[in-house]
């Protein structure tokens, strides 16, 4: 179903200024998702997502896609990047890069604006949106080009329950439409709701991974058990 997967990371290491940020990481992501990445702050979740997306230089190892096509990737950053343009133009930007016709762009933009409930502010500067609205816009902007894989870096950080639910619905629709989700989150409830596979990062390494149901029910390592209980992981 998803031609890009499985994705395999082999002995991937990222070093920045003498510090080993992640690695060595060995990981296989199969075509079914979503994969949820959890772990404490600074454990390397963002870096791991960026490595998979191909926007972080790696110092060792390999990232092997079944079929590598960067045009089919999309990424939602931890703090959404709003271009200094109107809301509608932010949405249209990836479509313009893809050189779609003006009519097609308009149709898609209208559809997504009403889908995320921002058509009333379509001509406002995107930089004036609230945090939740920005997140929705960033996700919609990532989805307009119908990517086959969508990486999300804590898309619901700082959002209330309603906004979180809206976004989860959006993501589930995208997943149902064939977009493979890979997402980092600190929200354990969200992880339980969405995860098919779980990856637990600790100290730059994949500490434990497996099918979500199994890992949540019976964590194999003390660190993950403690993390899931909400204890502070040493």
């Amino acid at each position: 179903m998803n031609a890009l997967f499985p994705l395999e990371l082999r002995q991937v290491v990222v070093r920045r200024r003498t510090k080993r940020v992640i690695g060595p990481v060995d990981l296989i992501l199969n075509p079914q998702g979503p994969t949820i990445i959890i772990g404490p702050n600074g454990s390397g979740k963002t870096t791991l997502l960026r490595v998979m997306h191909g926007i972080e230089r790696i110092n060792a190892g390999q990232v092997i896609w079944a079929k590598d096509d960067p045009a089919k990737h999309a990424f939602v950053f931890q703090s959404p990047i709003m271009m200094r343009r109107s809301v509608a133009e932010n949405l249209a930007y990836p479509l313009r890069l893809a050189k779609l016709s003006a009519a097609a762009i308009n149709t898609d933009v209208d559809h997504w604006l009403s889908r995320i409930g921002l058509d009333a502010v379509r001509d406002n500067p995107a930089t004036r949106l609230s945090g939740g609205e920005r997140q929705k816009l960033a996700i919609a902007r990532a989805l307009v080009c119908k990517p086959e894989v969508l990486f999300l870096d804590e898309p619901c950080a700082n959002l209330d329950g309603y906004a979180t639910r809206d976004i989860e619905v959006l993501l589930q629709e995208a997943a149902a439409a064939g977009t493979r989700l890979v997402m980092a989150t600190h929200n354990m409830g969200q992880a339980r709701r969405l995860a098919q596979d779980l990856v637990f990062m600790l100290d730059g390494k994949v500490h434990e991974t497996g099918p979500a149901a199994q890992v949540f029910a019976a964590p194999q390592t003390d660190a993950l058990a403690a993390f899931l209980r909400g204890d502070i992981v040493p």
């Binding site: 990737h73 990424f75 950053f77 990047i81 200094r84 109107s86 890069l97 001509d123 930089t127």
Partner: protein
């Protein structure tokens, strides 16, 4: 003895100064001079003479402007034409270059940037001299016969303002690139698309850069005097005409030209800012 400031009408139709209270609102130009007694008589007379000249100059300037004086008109238009052409050429070079320097990493990038910053401080007279030598009959470009033409002045101005625009454009494009970097990399954009996006979204900052270049070019006198030669009806522009008229002692015309120069600078700034804000939707 009266210690306080004494108000005097410095310019009247009669040569003596008059007490201000005699003519409460008859004369617009009034100067307050403290401790009048310390000014020697001759010094005072000179001071008074200068004030007279300035006042006469402003009056003459006013009439030159409102009567659309042909010479003033011609000189002003030439100034605008030379400077706007130079600005256009410099912007076409500088804006993509500044943007490119902001987002492209290469070996000698830092060196290139500090060179450009250094070139910003290039003395115009030296630029004028070098362009003169290059364009003079015996110089490498002598055959083009460009010396003492408006083209030569445009060349000199382009050399003077390009580094200014590159430097300011680079600075603001670097900030924008830091903001957009991850998004544009993630969207798999080509170099060309990145430059175009940054130029488009940073257009307000680029406009400021261009206006800084305009300000420097329109007020420049050293270089264009050398390469243009200040030839009447050919290469005389506002700044060189002011220098000439001041030298000749014709302060009226010089001041008139000065007013026009300031006026043009203000009008161009306001016009460009207004135009750029008609499409304003937000704070960017």
């Amino acid at each position: 003895m009266d210690e306080g400031p004494t108000a005097r009408i410095l310019y009247t139709t009669c040569p003596e100064s008059l007490d201000i209270s005699t003519y409460p609102d008859q004369f617009p130009l009034v100067f307050c001079v403290g401790k009048l007694d310390v000014l020697s008589f001759s010094c005072w007379d000179r001071f008074e003479g200068r004030m007279f000249e300035i006042w006469e100059g402003l009056k003459a300037a006013f009439w030159l402007i409102v009567m659309f004086d042909a010479e003033l008109w011609e000189i002003s238009l030439r100034s605008l034409r030379v400077t706007l052409t130079a600005l256009l050429i410099a912007s076409v070079i500088a804006i993509p270059l500044g943007t490119y320097l902001a987002l492209q990493r290469f070996r000698y990038r830092r060196f290139v940037i500090s060179m450009i910053n250094a070139l910003m401080g290039l003395p115009p007279v030296v630029v004028g001299l070098v362009v003169y030598l290059l364009l003079s009959r015996s110089g490498p470009f002598g055959v083009l016969n460009l010396l003492f033409t408006p083209t030569a002045m445009i060349i000199a101005q382009v050399i003077i303002i390009t580094p200014v625009i590159v430097s300011i454009a680079h600075q603001s494009m670097r900030e924008l690139w830091a903001e957009y970097h991850d998004l544009l990399i993630s969207l798999n954009t080509s170099k060309r698309q990145r430059v175009l996006t940054l130029v488009k979204d940073g257009r307000r900052n680029l406009l400021t850069a261009a206006l800084a270049g305009f300000g420097r070019a329109i007020g420049e006198v050293g270089a264009i005097m050398i390469v243009g030669g200040n030839i009447d009806h050919v290469t005389r522009v506002l700044t060189t005409a002011i220098a000439l008229e001041t030298g000749k002692g014709d302060f009226a015309l010089a001041l008139g030209l000065g007013c026009v120069l300031i006026g043009i600078a203000i009008i161009v700034n306001i016009t460009i800012h207004t135009l750029s804000q008609t499409e304003r939707e937000g704070r960017w």
